[in-house]
């Protein structure tokens, strides 16, 4: 009851001096809006990065690649690229045998682009890739048949996965492609599955207005089959992706990999296997952005102190102006605590309104900058526009903290003046003119 009365009094008092109240709030508004704008930009950058990486496919793999550490003057003199030093399929298979609970492989390679003749004897092109396992890839949804798997490779089967676009190019309309044979330069392959090309792939690979018949489509064959047909079974690798099962300690796995390869390469100081993981890289980037956001926010929050002092100043003025009113209230039976509450509530309300205006302005500013960034990317780098998933996201925790901070500013800077009012001697206050 008393609280509602105090709120009503505070609103009356703030409205009675609108201009003064707004000027008083200005410090709080600027401080809070700066913090909110910075955090909005920070969280938007993080969200954009995560969404962009996620849209590139799953990230639960380590990229491992061969790296030479000879110095420039040694180049070509003391070392020649000895293919035995490079990463081999055997090393990777042994790794998976050693840690089957952590890792699995899904090796892939570019085989090459080949021209093909379709049923109308028109020439089309395909881009052949080899892959161990083409099942369960989220971004290439299967509409028919099955994906290539390890068994196909083990049996050196000549099977193929093609896209719906390829089916349209290659076969007469209405043909069931499953079981049909496609003849290429490296052999004949039976189609066992048809997948849909994801939107981002289409946007990235093909120009607008390009004829469907001219589009080069990706097709997949088993990894081991490809190596066998190309007689490259013993050829070492430059790099490979080592996948890990979800929900594992990435740092631990990274150490495991590093140790595994260091053991193999311990006698070869000039060559090593590097391990790279996008997830841990992204985690580091996020940490850096967080630190920067917090640091700038703290600097911006200093203006809250200035704002708070402004509030304190105005509250002192207000109390001096209303000394007589305080005296009358005390004569009518107001306890010290009632007067204290009245003025603290007024200070809190002043800060809270300032804080809320600040949050609204900050979100508007942050979102505005986000839209400008999005517009600029679309305008000047349209080729990347499809790849960057620009996400604008105001930070909800930052807003909650801002509200709490506004209230605390009100309590902290309102308490001293309010206490001064509460302690006024009623006789002196009544006599005050």
């Amino acid at each position: 009851m008393q609280f509602i009365e105090n709120l009503r009094l505070a609103i009356t008092s703030i409205l009675a001096n609108k201009m003064r109240s707004i000027l008083t709030m200005l410090g709080i508004i600027i401080g809070i809006s700066a913090v909110i704008m910075i955090t909005t930009i920070g969280t938007s950058i993080q969200k954009t990065l995560v969404n962009t990486f996620n849209s590139m496919g799953s990230m639960n793999y380590f990229e491992v690649y061969t790296s030479w550490n000879y110095s420039e003057e040694d180049f070509g003199l003391t070392y020649t690229d000895n293919s035995e030093d490079r990463l081999s399929v055997e090393m990777l298979n042994q790794l998976v045998e050693q840690y089957p609970e952590y890792f699995y492989l899904n090796l892939s390679d570019d085989v090459g682009s080949f021209p093909l003749n379709n049923w109308k004897k028109q020439q089309i092109s395909v881009n052949v890739s080899s892959i161990t396992n083409f099942e369960n890839l989220d971004d290439f949804p299967f509409v028919r048949g099955r994906g290539i798997n390890q068994n196909d490779g083990n049996g050196l089967k000549q099977v193929m996965n093609v896209s719906t676009l390829f089916v349209e190019q290659y076969f007469p309309a209405g043909t069931n492609p499953i079981g049909q044979t496609v003849s290429t330069e490296i052999g004949d392959f039976v189609i066992v599955g048809v997948f849909e090309l994801p939107d981002y792939y289409v946007k990235q690979m093909y120009n607008e207005g390009q004829q469907d018949i001219d589009k080069v489509t990706p097709v997949y064959i088993p990894y081991d089959t490809a190596r066998h047909l190309l007689e490259k079974e013993q050829e070492p690798l430059y790099y490979a992706d080592v996948y890990y099962y979800p929900e594992q300690d990435i740092d631990m796995l990274e150490n495991l990999l590093n140790n595994y390869f260091q053991e193999i390469y311990k006698d070869k100081p000039y060559v090593q296997i590097e391990v790279f993981n996008m997830q841990s890289e992204l985690g580091m980037i996020n940490t850096v952005i967080n630190v920067i956001t917090i640091a700038i926010s703290v600097i911006a929050a200093i203006s809250l102190i200035v704002g708070g002092v402004g509030v304190m100043n105005i509250m002192l003025v207000s109390i001096t102006e209303r000394t007589k009113e305080i005296g009358v209230r005390k004569a009518l039976g107001a306890r010290n605590s009632a007067i204290l509450a009245q003025f603290v509530v007024e200070a809190i309300l002043l800060c809270l309104i300032g804080g809320i205006i600040g949050i609204l302005l900050g979100v508007a500013g942050g979102v505005g900058i986000g839209f400008i960034a999005k517009f600029m990317v679309n305008q000047f780098y349209p080729e990347y526009a499809g790849m960057f998933k620009i996400t604008i996201q105001p930070s909800i925790p930052a807003m909650l903290i801002a509200v709490i901070f506004s209230i605390l500013t009100g309590v902290f800077f309102g308490y001293y003046p309010a206490n001064k009012a509460a302690k006024l001697n009623p006789i002196d206050a009544l006599r005050y003119d």
């Binding site: 009851m1 008393q2 009365e5 009356t12 009675a16 007589k324 009113e325 005296g327 009358v328 209230r329 005390k330 004569a331 009518l332 039976g333 107001a334 306890r335 010290n336 605590s337 009632a338 009623p426 006789i427 009544l430």
Partner: protein
């Protein structure tokens, strides 16, 4: 004889105690005021009547002596207890009205009841009743700056009556009004005294106004020098 509301025994008030400019304002006032009395306290400025009023009104404590208000020894109470006494036992009427600005008449009258913790409904009911008593019902929603001096004082009197106080303590209530309006306010006091049985203490420097009351206590240099018209005179 009615029961005593105010009992003062040898009340002394000093300021700047222990300092070279120590000042004694009241030199041992003994006084008894009973229920339903209409008393005036008269004195020149500097006579000590304001100090006496502050003590009667529980705004201040006596330095020495005892002051019982409705049997409660006020001189021993702390600030919050004094606030409670002022809220429940005293109705202040000031020379300059002292209505809270930007707050309408009704809300002004509700204020002492708000500090007493009454519910909104009860407050509103009582405030309307009081405004009717002082003939201000039609101005209930007016802000103080929309009221004349006399009207403000009527609202102030209604406010003073809010919590059924034991005494209505009026400090020069007509001092800021023209004589015609002043008379109307005095008529209102008489009406409250006669019809409601309110105990009224009127503090004034005007002996003309004091003549209108039943009992007149005259103060000079911190002493009661005369006490006339009462049903029983002060204990000297």
């Amino acid at each position: 004889m009615n029961k005593p509301v105010i009992q003062m025994q040898n009340v002394i008030k000093r300021y700047y105690i222990g300092q070279p400019n120590e000042l004694q304002i009241l030199n041992g006032i003994s006084l008894e005021i009973h229920e339903h009395e209409f008393v005036s306290i008269v004195g020149q400025s500097g006579s000590g009547k304001s100090t006496l009023m502050n003590i009667i009104g529980a705004l201040d404590r006596p330095t020495e002596g005892t002051y019982h208000l409705n049997g409660v020894d006020v001189s021993t109470l702390d600030d919050d207890e004094l606030s409670y006494i002022r809220n429940q036992e005293i109705g202040f009427v000031f020379q300059t009205f002292n209505l809270i600005s930007r707050t309408n008449a009704l809300k002004n009258v509700e204020m002492p009841m708000m500090y007493a913790g009454l519910s909104r409904k009860k407050r509103l009911e009582r405030a309307k009743e009081l405004l009717a008593l002082v003939d201000m019902s039609e101005r209930a929603t007016h802000q103080p700056n929309e009221l004349s001096g006399g009207q403000k004082q009527r609202v102030a009197i209604a406010r003073a009556m809010a919590n059924h106080p034991s005494i209505l303590l009026a400090d020069e209530p007509t001092g800021a009004l023209d004589s015609k309006t002043g008379h109307k306010i005095m008529d209102l006091f008489h009406k409250l005294h006669q019809e409601e049985g309110t105990t009224i203490i009127l503090i004034t420097h005007s002996s003309e106004l004091a003549e209108e009351t039943e009992r007149m206590i005259t103060i000079s240099d911190g002493n009661i020098i005369a006490d006339t018209g009462g049903e029983n005179n002060a204990v000297h």
